[in-house]
């Protein structure tokens, strides 16, 4: 026998289920009057610095069908590459930028859409720059443990080519699953389309973090 390390075990994950919207976005699900607004859904304050962008797409299951009941959260650095919230020790992020957003996919089309700013470059643990990216976390009915992935930007070819995380993907044919394509909407706002495939051909790279 040896001494006990006396560590606890992480609580096991369980699916967010089909009614995750009741808890996460009650106003969206028709439960009004409990919270003034759904957390993570408020538009950006006008003071936020940086290039305004939209991020949109759908999540497809293994049959190619868009999922209509998922919830997506994103977490990202500000335009200068500093994280708001906690854990950032390199400086103070833009005080008006929350960094974290949450949206349900549309119940009919499965489309999600976030309006944010393009994040700056942040360092890898060895100091090399990581290309601008957004952390994406997906939960839904049928997903037993939340899926982490990253959105990289298609117009950042040089930065993406030097990114230490993208460089670790052995099967290079899978790298494009993490890269959003840029277009512009009618108002001239840059729109990055990032479709996520949970399974099968073109399966998105998901991370164990």
């Amino acid at each position: 026998m040896v001494q006990s390390l006396r560590r606890l075990r992480e609580s096991p994950s369980q699916t967010a289920g089909p009614y995750v919207h009741i808890g996460a976005t009650p106003n969206f699900s028709g439960i009004g009057g409990v919270y003034p607004h759904d957390l993570g859904s408020q538009p950006l304050a006008p003071e936020v610095k940086g290039e305004r962008i939209a991020v949109t797409g759908r999540i497809f299951d293994g049959s190619g069908t868009p999922i209509k009941d998922a919830l997506i959260e994103i977490w990202q650095a500000d335009a200068q590459g500093l994280y708001p919230g906690q854990g950032e020790r390199r400086g103070e992020a833009d005080p008006h930028f929350p960094g974290w957003f949450r949206q349900p996919v549309d119940g009919t089309t499965g489309v999600y859409r976030f309006e944010t700013v393009k994040p700056g470059i942040v360092p890898y643990f060895d100091g090399r720059p990581m290309a601008p990216h957004i952390t994406v976390w997906i939960v839904a009915r049928g997903i037993n443990i939340g899926l982490h992935t990253r959105l990289y930007f298609g117009d950042e070819e040089a930065a993406n080519a030097a990114d230490p995380i993208l460089a670790r993907i052995e099967h290079r044919v899978r790298v494009p699953t993490l890269i959003a394509t840029r277009s512009e909407d009618e108002a001239g706002m840059p729109v990055y389309t990032f479709d996520i495939r949970l399974q099968g051909e073109g399966e998105t790279v998901f991370f164990d973090i």
Binding site: P36, V122, G142, F207
Partner: protein, 247 residues
């Protein structure tokens, strides 16, 4: 507002034990079949993008956010056994996780959710919305008041029922700790018949999700109490990590 534990701030998180959690593919839970990635996860480890996370301040909470008996009351109180759920959010080193946003949602006492896609014949309760939230205190403690949810049938097998449960969403101090799970109730035989629960590989792990009836905390002639502790990933002490400047 900073929520870091001064002696352990900034370290990377312990590897998540994927054999302890339910795998993505659990065919007895049919919806997982087409929603489970088939390729191996890419081991990323922690970068600053995972070791940071949003902060939620107590000032965002309304006075009834942790009281599901009153926060959707229209004409009176909801029907059902009155309960309080309380517990601590800890990390794997048993340190309290303070300032953690905890959100919860559930069916009503008849097992019916207030949701447009829900078709179970049990009645909607006009006084029950089914959502709440709170933020842990300096000892990582949280509590909320609600009614005990009922079990309900769901379209999986031809006759599958979910045990009574409350859904939990927890934010720790970093995005790497993000967790959604469910709480079950002590003594419920349906826990062990549920395809979602049984996707968890070990009985020991399932038991971590079963809240104990906290008889001593019960409010006489008023409310039963269940205790449900939640454990998030622990993190290394920076004492042991030689991290480059700039991170």
């Amino acid at each position: 507002m900073r929520n870091e534990n001064s002696s352990h701030q900034g370290g990377s998180f312990y590897q998540r034990d994927r054999s302890w959690h339910p795998p993505a593919f659990t065919p007895n839970y049919k919806t997982s079949v087409l929603r489970s990635p088939q390729k191996a996860l890419l081991s990323l480890g922690n970068t600053i993008s995972e070791m940071t996370g949003p902060v939620f301040g107590h000032d965002m909470l309304g006075p009834l956010d942790n009281d599901l008996i009153l926060n959707y009351s229209q004409t009176g109180e909801p029907i059902g056994p009155r309960i309080i759920v309380h517990g601590q959010v800890l990390d794997e080193d048993a340190r309290p996780v303070r300032g953690a946003l905890v959100e919860f949602w559930q069916a009503n006492a008849g097992g019916r959710y207030r949701h447009k896609k829900e078709t179970y014949l049990a009645a909607i309760d006009p006084n029950f919305g089914g959502c709440g939230r709170t933020i842990t205190d300096d000892e990582g403690r949280y509590w909320f008041r609600t009614i005990k949810p009922g079990p309900y049938p769901w379209p999986n097998g031809v006759n599958d029922w979910r045990p009574a449960h409350i859904h939990f969403s927890v934010f720790g101090h970093a995005f790497a700790q993000r967790l959604i799970t469910q709480m079950y109730f002590e003594g419920d035989p349906m826990i062990w018949q549920c395809p979602i629960v049984m996707g968890i590989p070990s009985r020991e792990a399932v038991e971590r999700l079963v809240a104990a009836l906290d008889r001593e905390a019960t409010l006489p002639m008023d409310t039963m109490v269940y205790k449900f502790d939640i454990v998030l990933r622990g993190r290394r002490s920076t004492l042991f990590e030689n991290r480059m400047e700039g991170n």
